[in-house]
Symmetry: C2
Subunit: 365 residues, 2 copies
């Protein structure tokens, strides 16, 4: 990579130390979808690739866009450029991205027979392009900052697989949850095994932290979340603890919109290292509820990147105050960066986090 | 109306008594968007009207569709058929509904000058079609069940007025909140006065309960919700208490997705009679947090109407259990009915609520 750092540079370890709730010189920061359409250099690589899927499936190009935001901003972690739907694609559902629309499967899962045909993809053969990207990115990063691997949660993958695409109310998969829970559990079970194998393979290929996105967990009422999502998040976390050294390889769980009484607490009880937090609750509330069990990652409203620089700085200060004293906070947005954001605003944000986070450390805050 | 009821029929008062947290013979039930596209008779009237707006603006047709679900189901309240965007339309923004899309304003609010031009519409002249519909529905209902009037919250109306349409991330109005809060407060202030006058006029025209929908409150982080939404909900509630006899005319507040620590409590502190609750938290949690200050309305996931009859019944039982002992519960969905729902499922739901709610009373539950 163009910007080597010294062996004792705090950026090498700030993110990992914060996930372990160890002291850091300042608050580490990375941003969901930091490699993305708001960057002109991303749009150029994407155009060269020809399609989003070609970009995601070509390790050299996936590596290139993964590193792009790190060349611009002083970020404390890289995250693999990929898509949560690589697993269902490898299962044979035929992932497509129509122009200007979201993802779509050519062969959605609609019946018990469809589910019976699904197998766990072998990560090193059927998802080799992802593992090759992880290896290449690790090599190019050369220790500058840690690399985060990721996957979608079984429930979230199942939502797309059953609906065939994004949906307003996800009525089809919810109808399956009520009317044929046994079939849905079979689907979620094969997905949980696939996700666990996929994340373990990313770890073996060099990922230094893993993140599990339950983007649609918040669609479920609390008892259904427990039955159809949390149960499988828990199984994956257990598998990773058994098969990957968890102390070295932290897991971050992010279940967007899942903030009910007992729910954050239950997510923390999976044994993950950190919880992602959306911006609908304060970090102070999240910390009071989960205590010192886990680190917290979040939770600025991504729309704040449309604010003027001094307002961004004020919002960063408010968020650091809401979290309270170090350690254990990884600054992030509460959801991904949107395409219309000015990259200059991201620079302002990253600088403000490091500057104000350092002051908070100095003040014993 | 085709189905007169006796003077001592409990359906006349069940809903209003529950809002006052007085004993009822069973749990009252009505459903958000109960007059809507899932009903073939609604689709027929809508086709006759020619457009959604023509339907909403013709009192006889609005009355007709308001009553349709009451002819089919044993519901305990009627809700005015209208749209939350009647106020901005009356302010001159030019409301349109494009085929298959959501609402859109021909002249969205984009500048301080746009805001300065906005005035409070006089309900009895500029929104007379709404008041005429309320009077006509009251007459046709003939006391069978109470009629609920409603409006959108200032924040939610401002979202549509500034964005011009629905939006994925509402970046434009949030940028205004951060970069020009004084202008946004001027907009919210005129909207709060307009909403208060509109609701008071609906009460004068015969509405027996009022509901305020803050559909987009949950887009805001808690401090911004307090500043840009709650403050104006509070102002409207105060105005109604001062100008309408609150004990006779209860106000129901529904801020979807607003469930953070202190937020439900603050909504209850406005002095409203009841809170609408979405399905992301349990009614048990909501009740523990707001105590006996308010009644609760909710909170079945609308997708449950795609479940089989025995599953709908099981979910109703679970929800009644989650609320706990009577009184103070108005059964409802956590959001509106969707167009694909089979009306037969609504009949199953309404019957289950009354039957199981009666049993809960008999058991002292």
């Amino acid at each position: 990579m163009a910007l080597p750092v010294a062996a004792d540079d705090p950026r090498r370890t700030r993110f990992s130390r914060a996930l372990r709730r160890e002291a850091t010189d300042t608050t580490p920061v990375w941003l969901m979808r930091q490699a993305g359409r708001y960057l002109p250099e991303y749009r150029a690589t994407r155009a060269r690739a020809g399609s989003f899927l070609a970009l995601a499936k070509t390790p050299e190009l996936a590596c290139e866009v993964t590193l792009q935001p790190l060349l611009r901003f002083d970020l404390d972690a890289a995250i693999l450029f990929s898509d949560i739907l690589t697993i269902p694609d490898a299962m044979g559902l035929g992932l497509e991205f129509a122009q200007g629309e979201g993802p779509r499967f050519a062969r959605p899962v609609r019946s018990a027979a469809d589910i019976a045909h699904l197998g766990v993809p072998d990560p090193e053969t059927e998802l080799r392009y992802v593992m090759d990207a992880v290896r290449l990115i690790r090599h190019e990063l050369d220790g500058r900052v840690p690399l985060i691997g990721f996957a979608g949660s079984p429930w979230t993958l199942a939502c797309y697989m059953v609906e065939g695409t994004g949906s307003r109310d996800f009525a089809r998969i919810k109808a399956m949850a009520w009317n044929d829970p046994a079939s849905l559990h079979r689907l979620l079970d094969v997905l949980a095994r696939a996700v666990a194998a996929y994340l373990a393979a990313q770890a073996a290929a060099g990922a230094q932290a893993l993140m599990l996105f339950d983007t649609w967990g918040g669609l479920l009422a609390p008892p259904m979340f427990a039955e159809f999502s949390l149960r499988y998040l828990d199984a994956i976390a257990q598998h990773l603890r058994a098969h990957v050294v968890a102390a070295v390889l932290p897991l971050i769980l992010f279940a967007k919109g899942v903030n009910g009484a007992g729910q954050l607490e239950a997510l923390a009880d999976t044994g993950c290292a950190a919880l992602g937090v959306d911006w609908s609750i304060s970090l102070g509330e999240a910390r009071r509820r989960v205590g010192a069990r886990v680190a917290l990652q979040g939770n600025l409203d991504p729309a704040a990147l449309h604010a003027q620089p001094e307002i961004i700085e004020r919002e960063v200060a408010a968020l650091l105050r809401a979290f309270g004293p170090h350690p254990g906070h990884v600054f992030n947005l509460g959801h991904g960066i949107t395409p219309e954001v000015d990259p200059e605003s991201v620079a302002v944000l990253v600088d403000a986090v490091h500057r104000l986070g350092r002051r908070a450390v100095a003040e014993g805050g």
